[in-house]
């Protein structure tokens, strides 16, 4: 069996989605995968050396943002709708033709389609039908969130939602970003699903002593994107009110990622290390951080994302073997998982006082600290190793 991966990000080393995609590609036996990459031209993925032999074609993806100007002139909502409608009707035809040509040349008999954004959604069915192969769908985020983030007009968003229903019903199987999303699609479309979440190689895992590292400091680790900025700012507010001290300890934030953390953080309380390779992130979190902060959006506009998606930083945190402080809605997908595994101190209230109270508990309650640290390691070993992920990928692809 040979599978065509129809994706908007190639397997690579420098984007989260690309890193997970690369991990998934490694689960497919050599010679059984080809990649058709419909890529945003502004991205600069660094391809994985070990996957260099994969047959791959890259084409440019049309701009998915709802445009406010057309050929330099401002346009109305109606004009915006017309531009997006034109993309829908005309711009995808050559891409579909190229994908079909490549798929036929590769003699694929399986289609793995990453259903991220309106372009990929609109390509899925024509390519699957053109090739006459089973369609296997891979979802990262809810479509509604994508539409909102990209300011897609209401008519085209509505047409996309209807198309999404058709695509999902035509699917053979589905890989999704969380257990909650898998259950949601199984209920709604009767689609067999596998949660496929970022995973790490077992040797990367650390198991530091489940105690605070130093007697006078509390170091809060944070790695990855600040997609829950309001929640992060709440943490900063709580610490500011506490004069950057918790349980008699000076608080230090250890942050890693593409950009420095937002908020007014005194320089003596912030240690920003920039972007680090994943194994180094795990090592630093394990050896220098006492506990690890994961914020997730409380806002009503992000309710669906919160309920269905899963933060890819959590597996990294679990691999570090330190207690996780989760700050998000009680009905969010990560909170549900964490509660089931008893693998984090969950703060389900958006306010700063609740966060401070949780920090105080983790700093003072040695038993709880050790329990959450061990639960984090156990969660990693049960659900987020490459072995677990590869088995899920094979089930998803019918291998």
């Amino acid at each position: 069996m040979k599978t065509l991966l129809l994706t908007d990000i190639p397997p690579c080393t420098n984007y989260t989605a690309g890193i997970v995609t690369a991990q998934m590609c490694r689960a497919v036996p050599a010679g059984q995968l080809a990649v058709f990459n419909v890529q945003n031209p502004h991205l600069t993925p660094e391809l994985c050396a070990d996957l260099a032999q994969l047959p791959m074609v890259t084409v440019h993806k049309p701009n998915e943002f709802g445009v406010r100007r057309w050929r330099g002139l401002p346009i109305t909502t109606l004009g915006q709708t017309a531009v997006e409608f034109r993309k829908r009707m005309l711009r995808l035809r050559p891409i579909i033709a190229q994908a079909l040509e490549f798929g036929r040349a590769q003699e694929v008999d399986n289609l793995w389609c990453v259903l991220q954004g309106q372009t990929m959604l609109r390509l899925a069915l024509p390519v699957a039908r053109g090739l006459g192969v089973p369609l296997r769908l891979h979802l990262w985020d809810p479509l509604e969130w994508w539409h909102r983030a990209h300011r897609v007009d209401r008519l085209n968003a509505w047409l996309d939602r209807r198309l999404f229903d058709r695509v999902m019903r035509a699917g053979e199987s589905c890989a999704s970003a969380s257990w909650a999303m898998t259950e949601h699609f199984a209920r709604r479309y009767g689609l067999r699903g596998e949660p496929v979440i970022a995973a790490l190689d077992t040797p990367v895992q650390r198991r530091p002593e489940p105690v605070l590292h130093r007697p006078d400091t509390l170091t809060i680790g944070m790695a990855g994107q600040f997609y829950a900025e309001a929640e992060w700012l709440t943490l900063v507010s709580a610490l500011t009110h506490a004069k950057w001290r918790v349980a008699g300890r000076t608080v230090r934030l250890l942050a890693m990622g593409g950009s420095p953390p937002p908020g007014a953080i005194p320089s003596e309380n912030l240690d920003f290390r920039g972007w680090q390779p994943q194994a180094e992130v795990v090592r630093l979190l394990a050896e220098e951080a006492d506990l690890l902060y994961c914020g997730y959006p409380f806002g009503a506009e992000m309710e669906q994302v919160s309920r269905l998606s899963f933060p890819s930083k959590l597996p990294t945190y679990f691999a570090a073997g330190r207690p996780v402080l989760f700050h998000g809605r009680a009905d969010s997908s990560p909170a549900t998982y964490l509660a089931r595994r008893a693998a984090a101190w969950i703060v389900a209230q958006p306010d700063a006082a609740s966060l401070h109270s949780a920090l105080l508990n983790l700093a003072e309650d040695e038993a709880a600290f050790a329990r959450f640290a061990r639960a984090a390691s156990a969660a990693f070993e049960a659900d987020f190793t490459l072995e677990t992920q590869r088995a899920a990928v094979r089930r998803f692809l019918g291998l």
Binding site: S237, A238, H241, A242, K243, R245, A247, G248, Q349, D351, A352, A353, S354, H356, S357, A358, L360, N361, E364, D365
Partner: protein
């Protein structure tokens, strides 16, 4: 004579919010006493089969919101909602032997409908606060003009606020409405009863004193450590419970904050401030104490946990018609600190059981808080006495008995056989 249980219709703005005193929670107890209790509310929050929304029509709430804006523009309140006349056409109203009105003055019901409705059914009306006796405010605080007809109001900003002074007009209108209504009034405290006796609006009304009751099996001294663990409270702290809500000036949440500021520095890292109804109010204290803010919630288990986890409960209301939270705290075996000039010293039996401080006296409130922080034996003694008082006076069973007697009496007094 119709066979079967006496049928009572409870009428209020909501079911769950305020359910402990608006006729919702007491329903099962009334059933045990041969009374079928059903409820019509403007905002239905529960899925209870004995509760229905009144006028659940598309647009009715939007229309009502518009009427509210009209009222605010005209400086009147609870007058334009003429949909309340339609209550008489509701099948549950028609089937009822007695109608019991609760919160009907919060902007969905026109009091002009009351004479019309109360002529049709034996009617009782619980005055949950003194608004009906004043020209506009819910609580008159220190003002005594409500005794003489209002007008020249010293503070139009008190809720329900007015743009221009129509307090005398409103007072006259209320006097007319109440005078034309055939209704018996239930008051929960002697404090409210004394106000009614002094009010020209309540002159000639038949009133009954019936304190609210709490479920003494639910609000009971229990496992404090477990409650604290559920709320994430450090086990070694003295826990001060209080109602937050800075926006509700009647409840005195701001006074607690001021009083807490006056506590000595050596108590740092020894206290936990546990508040309900608000977020952010106690955040400035996180550099000294543990702060747990539960915010506004209607989950009875969380409410009970908040009381169980506290070492004592502070309720420095500037005005209070009864004080249900004080009773619930006492039922959980917790001492309470309250303020003079409200119903609270009476219902908590201060100074023997509750501790009363002068209204608005922040140093006195700080001193009372400090006294209970430093005296665990006094906390235990007052807590036990509070529980005994709750058992003696404020049981839900006794409240249900009292209501049942009043309902049956109302039918008899009206000469209507159920």
């Amino acid at each position: 004579m119709r066979a079967g249980p006496l049928r009572v219709l409870q009428v209020s703005s909501t079911d769950l919010a305020g359910g402990r005193f608006n006729g919702h929670a007491i329903g099962p107890r009334l059933t045990q006493r041969g009374i079928q209790s059903r409820m019509l509310v403007w905002n239905r929050q529960s899925q209870d089969a004995t509760v229905r929304a009144f006028l659940p029509l598309r647009g009715a709430r939007r229309m009502n919101a518009w009427l509210g804006r009209m009222e605010r523009a005209r400086s009147i309140h609870a007058r334009l909602q003429y949909q309340s006349f339609l209550l008489a056409a509701h099948p549950w109203f028609r089937e009822a032997d007695v109608v019991h009105y609760h919160l009907i003055h919060d902007g969905w019901f026109s009091l002009d409908a009351l004479p019309f409705l109360t002529r049709r059914k034996p009617s009782l009306w619980t005055w949950h606060d003194p608004w009906i006796m004043t020209g506009h405010c819910i609580y008159p605080l220190g003002c005594g003009r409500w005794r003489t007809g209002c007008g020249a109001c010293p503070d139009l900003t008190l809720p329900f606020a007015m743009r221009r002074d129509r307090t005398a007009d409103q007072h006259r209108w209320k006097q007319g409405v109440v005078g034309r209504s055939r209704v018996e009034v239930i008051l929960a405290s002697r404090h409210m009863q004394a106000m009614a006796e002094a009010s020209p609006i309540a002159r000639g009304l038949s009133t009954h004193l019936l304190p609210f009751g709490v479920d003494l099996d639910f609000f009971t001294p229990g496992d404090v450590a477990a409650a604290r663990a559920r709320l994430g409270i450090r086990p070694d702290r003295v826990v001060i419970g209080f109602r937050g809500a800075a926006e509700n000036m009647f409840k005195g949440g701001d006074l607690v904050i001021e009083a807490l500021r006056g506590l000595p520095a050596e108590l740092a890292e020894k206290l936990c401030l546990l508040s309900t109804h608000a977020h952010g109010q106690t955040l400035p204290f996180v550099d000294r104490h543990q702060v747990v803010e539960l915010g506004w919630n209607t989950d009875p288990l969380l409410v009970r946990d908040s009381l169980l986890a506290a070492d004592f409960f502070v309720m420095p209301s500037r005005a209070e018609a009864f004080g249900m939270m004080a009773i619930e705290a006492m039922a959980c075996g917790k001492p309470v600190i309250v303020t003079d000039g409200t119903s609270l010293p009476e219902v908590t039996q201060a100074p023997e059981i509750g501790i009363a401080v002068p209204a608005g006296d922040v140093p006195a409130l700080t001193a009372a808080i400090l006294r209970l922080i430093q005296n665990p034996y006094e906390r235990a003694a007052r807590g036990a006495a509070g529980r005994a008082l709750a058992e003696a006076r404020y049981g839900e069973a006794g409240f249900a008995d009292g209501l049942a007697t009043l309902y049956r009496g109302a039918v008899v007094r009206r000469g209507a056989a159920p």
